[in-house]
């Protein structure tokens, strides 16, 4: 019996009432699609394919670095809830976070280990792209945005290191900010701007804080957007040796096949980070004392170690110029070369691609590994 006392087949009102949750979701998606037009992306996603060949493994590292960057932003935002950027409060706020805040140790340790893993991943991604020559036409800008992104990541590492305001970070920052000071003419000014004064003080801390939580992440966001858009536009690069054998034989769909493999890697990275955080939580050390002598064994983060170690080996004067200045100029030139590689490694009309740049890349990798090893194994007093 109907409410009005009549019998009959279910009317439109009755049929509306039978909507399942799935119908509701579909309706909402259709409503949003009418307004946002995201179904236009469907053919692009369906078309996107990843070539399968013996070097395909290296395709996963960029996505991995991106995942770690997103993880850094998320844990970084959580750290901001408790962190106080002042020389009076920074150390105490991190101490409070580590000892009183529930899971504070976990969030900070994941942020700290995640930073190391992200930079490591960026290193591996950069060298794999370099050795597989993925920067060749038309991917010059993809390479350049990636190289700049790598420098931004190093900047994030350098500025973040100071924020807990502990002894190790304080002196590492004093050394690190001294480096631009040796440049002729602009050096002292650059050092003053970087430090917010003549010395590393609370003013440096607030400056580094601003760079670490706003300027550098904003830059990274812009560069990541450009980088990912360009990867999307040009697709994955096929290495020259695969191309020489007639190109890849197979390919896989980006969605879902490649993305699912990506997800497995991301989950593994998260699990590794969580266990690193649990078994070896980030240290805090002692609070920085600006009037104390630097303790022995002051050293930068591992990714700056090869430069730090190089500067130790350089003699006081090279051809009448300060040794330090020569070293810093050399690293400056190396950084510029790195960004400009797509324009320096011009393709030759002859069949075989040039090997010079591949050997240079292997040489640079070996140099970084050896100098980093020496930095960790040499006695700090020798």
């Amino acid at each position: 019996m109907m409410a009005d006392g009549t019998k009959g087949a279910p009317g439109p009102a009755r049929r509306r009432a039978r909507k399942t949750p799935r119908d509701l979701v579909r309706g909402t998606v259709a409503w949003l699609d009418d307004r946002l037009g995201f179904s236009a992306l469907k053919p692009i996603i369906r078309k996107k394919e990843v070539p399968v060949h013996r070097h395909s493994f290296w395709y996963y590292l960029g996505g991995m670095a991106l995942f770690l960057f997103i993880l850094q932003v998320s844990t970084g935002v959580l750290l901001l809830f408790y962190y106080r950027p002042s020389s009076d409060g920074a150390y105490e706020s991190v101490q409070f976070l580590m000892s009183n805040v529930r899971f504070g140790w976990l969030i900070r340790s994941i942020h700290s280990w995640g930073a190391n893993l992200m930079i490591f991943m960026a290193f591996v991604h950069l060298f794999s792209v370099l050795i597989l020559k993925a920067y060749r036409k038309p991917r010059e800008l993809t390479w350049m945005s990636g190289a700049l992104l790598f420098f931004v990541a190093l900047g994030l590492g350098f500025t973040g290191y100071l924020l807990p305001w502990n002894t190790l970070a304080y002196f590492a920052t004093r050394v690190g900010t001294e480096i631009p000071g040796v440049l002729p003419v602009v050096g002292p000014f650059a050092r003053k701007v970087l430090r917010g004064g003549d010395d590393v003080t609370g003013a440096t801390l607030t400056r580094f804080y601003a760079l670490h939580v706003s300027v550098l992440p904003a830059l990274a966001f812009i560069l990541v957007s450009i980088h990912v858009l360009l990867v999307q536009k040009h697709g994955m690069s096929v290495p020259p040796d695969v191309e020489a054998r007639g190109g890849p034989k197979r390919s896989m769909k980006f969605v879902p096949n490649f993305l699912m493999r990506d997800l497995v890697g991301w989950l593994a990275a998260l699990a590794i980070l969580a266990s690193m955080a649990a078994f070896n939580p980030a240290h805090l050390g002692t609070k920085a004392d600006t009037f104390a002598a630097a303790p022995a064994g002051i050293r930068p983060e591992w990714y700056f170690m090869f430069m730090f170690q190089t500067l130790k080996y350089l003699p006081a004067h090279i051809l009448g110029v300060d040794g330090e200045l020569v070293g810093i100029a050399a690293f400056g030139v190396a950084a510029a070369v790195l960004v400009l590689i797509p324009f320096l490694d011009r393709p030759r009309p002859e069949a075989r691609p040039r090997r010079l740049w591949t050997w240079l890349a292997y040489g640079a990798l070996l140099y970084i590994i050896v100098l980093t090893y020496l930095g960790y194994t040499m006695s700090p007093t020798s």
Binding site: L78, F81, Y82, N100, V101, R102, F103, G104, L106, I107, L267
Partner: protein
């Protein structure tokens, strides 16, 4: 066979779904606990010695002092009595002040008035201000929480 295939698919769906749910909980639980700030045990202050000397507090005036982590207000009435109260307005927690033109304690936030015994006499405050005991020892003013 198709029935078996379906059940296997459903099993895998269930496995993936619960794993994803487990991961979500493993991430959300620490984050939600982290966001809630921990309780900081307040050092219970029961007595403070004020920095001001008794003769420096003029009749018909009042001033704010620190009572632990909260503000207190010391008032000298026109007749010369010293009194102290919590300076936290019982309405919405603003800090009150002494008004010599009305000889009462006043909260500027929502125009609440208390008399010089701390009783809420006008405006929105729902309760009187907590009163502290004031003792003068030599040239020191000691304010103590009444049990």
């Amino acid at each position: 066979m198709s029935g078996q295939g379906l059940s296997r698919k459903r099993f895998i769906d269930w496995l993936l779904g619960t794993s994803a749910g487990g991961l979500l909980i493993a991430v959300l639980y620490p984050v939600s606990r982290y966001i809630v700030p921990p309780e900081i045990p307040e050092t219970a202050v029961n007595s403070v010695v004020l920095k001001v000397r008794p003769e420096d507090v003029a009749p018909d005036s009042g001033e704010i002092f620190r009572f632990g982590s909260k503000p207190g207000i010391l008032v000298r009435t026109a007749s010369g009595d010293l009194r102290a109260f919590s300076a936290v307005c019982t309405h919405l927690g603003c800090t009150v002040q002494y008004r010599s033109d009305e000889s009462d304690i006043w909260c500027a936030c929502h125009n609440g008035h208390y008399d010089l015994n701390g009783r809420n006499i006008a405006g929105p405050p729902p309760r009187p201000l907590e009163e502290y005991a004031v003792n003068v020892r030599g040239d020191q003013i000691v304010v103590t929480r009444q049990s």
